[in-house]
């Protein structure tokens, strides 16, 4: 640890923070598209039609069985040959959103199942339609139960944005790698990038655990 390392770190920080901003945007975009997708899949999986249920389960199993890196490369390098071309950022968002939908569907399904059956019966007894009881009774409570697990998953997706380096998205790792390539000081800059990831992941993890305990008190 000497002055030159510290001054280099100070010099590189703005570029890495730019990268971090891109990583966070990717995380936000994937979650904003993926979680509603996951909720839809969860509703289909707990639906009454057997065919729909089977299709949803197969989709989720495939989505969770594929490594995120494979999905990413498939969307970016594979889909253009099928006539669908995305830019790196869009491809990254689409791929991570697909992974998010598959994983969060299981989290949300568990949340929806945690809503007592008596509440659904009560809603029916009050003359609510199936759709209304989902909209006003099951979904609001089920999603609330799922929030800590969803936050935990969001942290994982934030970490997974580092994979988009492979399709040339200028996120945190991408920025660190270009600095490394320009200065030949890979170790110094990659360690700084690692610290930036930790600076996001560790506090986020503590907040998630805190929330989990808080919510656990009332449920």
């Amino acid at each position: 640890m000497n002055d030159s390392l510290l001054s280099s770190w100070v010099e590189w920080t703005p570029a890495l923070l730019d990268g971090l901003w891109t990583s966070l945007q990717l995380t936000g975009g994937s979650l904003a598209i993926g979680i509603p997708g996951g909720l839809l899949l969860a509703l289909l999986m707990s639906g009454r039609s057997r065919v729909v249920k089977a299709v949803a389960i197969v989709l989720v199993e495939i989505g969770r069985g594929m490594p995120a890196l494979v999905v990413l490369q498939l969307v970016y390098f594979g889909l253009p040959s099928a006539g669908l071309t995305f830019g790196p950022f869009l491809a990254a968002t689409a791929a991570l959103a697909l992974t998010t939908a598959a994983y969060t569907s299981e989290i949300l399904r568990a949340g929806l199942q945690a809503v007592p059956a008596g509440e659904v019966e009560a809603a029916a007894a009050l003359g609510m339609s199936h759709r209304d009881s989902l909209r006003y009774v099951v979904i609001p409570q089920g999603v609330r139960v799922a929030i800590p697990a969803l936050l935990g998953f969001s942290i994982q997706i934030f970490q997974a944005t580092s994979l988009t380096f492979t399709i040339a998205v200028p996120e945190l790792l991408g920025q660190a790698y270009s600095i490394g390539a320009a200065t030949f000081r890979y170790l110094d800059v990659l360690v700084l990038a690692g610290l930036v990831y930790l600076a996001v992941v560790l506090p986020a993890g503590s907040i998630t655990r805190l929330l989990e305990r808080r919510m656990g008190r009332h449920l």
Partner: protein, 212 residues
């Protein structure tokens, strides 16, 4: 068909990376979990910090730090060695928490009963607590192993010729974009099938043996 062949060439490397990393992780996680539960507070904090750092930095960043960063001057490693070392260390962090969960799940009374029978701490650990903790930790560990199989695809970024690397090579050289990636996805899904089955049967067997 040639696409499938190209992708299958990567299977031994994917499995080798995953199994070697898992082996390293399973061993290193033992002292880490023990330190995490130690009665010496600084040891506990150090273990906690190590686990947080191992799990908090994305795998691909760890691999780059080891392969490009350390490989630059400190320690020269081939892609495979760097991949196994990186994923092995990360696995140690995750497995340590899984082991700890297993140990915590064993009722305190078991320790008391063991000591009332005159067993030392080591004996109690290996004969009474350990076997019960193992049963609790097993499903978590196999789930982690399945996750590791998929996460091992990141080793393609440092030049290990695993399933992922073979698929993208094939896609580039034959310019037939979609097929190689879909096949790679299929191979990963097929490989994780037996693992999931193994985990379920082992769990059921162990459960039957201790069930009351």
């Amino acid at each position: 068909m040639s696409h499938l062949h190209a992708v299958l060439l990567g299977v031994p490397w994917t499995l080798a990376v995953m199994l070697a990393a898992l082996a390293i992780g399973a061993v290193l996680a033992v002292p880490l979990a023990a330190a995490r539960r130690s009665r010496v507070a600084p040891l506990r904090w150090a273990a906690r910090l190590a686990i947080d750092v191992l799990r908090g930095i994305p795998p691909i960043v760890w691999l780059f730090i080891i392969f490009f960063g350390l490989g630059d001057k400190v320690l020269r490693l081939g892609p495979f060695q760097a991949a196994v070392l990186g994923l092995g260390l990360i696995s140690a962090g995750y497995l340590a928490e899984i082991y700890r969960g297993g140990l915590t799940a064993v009722h305190k009374g078991q320790w008391e009963a063991a000591s009332a029978l005159g067993m030392g701490r080591a004996d109690a650990m290996t004969r009474v607590i350990g076997p019960q903790a193992f049963r609790v930790a097993l499903p978590g560990a196999t789930t982690y192993a399945i996750g590791l199989l998929k996460d091992s695809s990141v080793v393609s970024t440092i030049g290990v010729t695993d399933i992922m690397a073979r698929a993208s090579q094939d896609a580039r050289s034959t310019s037939s974009g979609l097929t190689p990636f879909l096949l790679a996805a299929l191979v990963y899904i097929v490989l994780s099938g037996p693992l999931a089955w193994l985990s379920r049967t082992m769990d059921a067997k162990l459960r039957a043996r201790v069930a009351r």
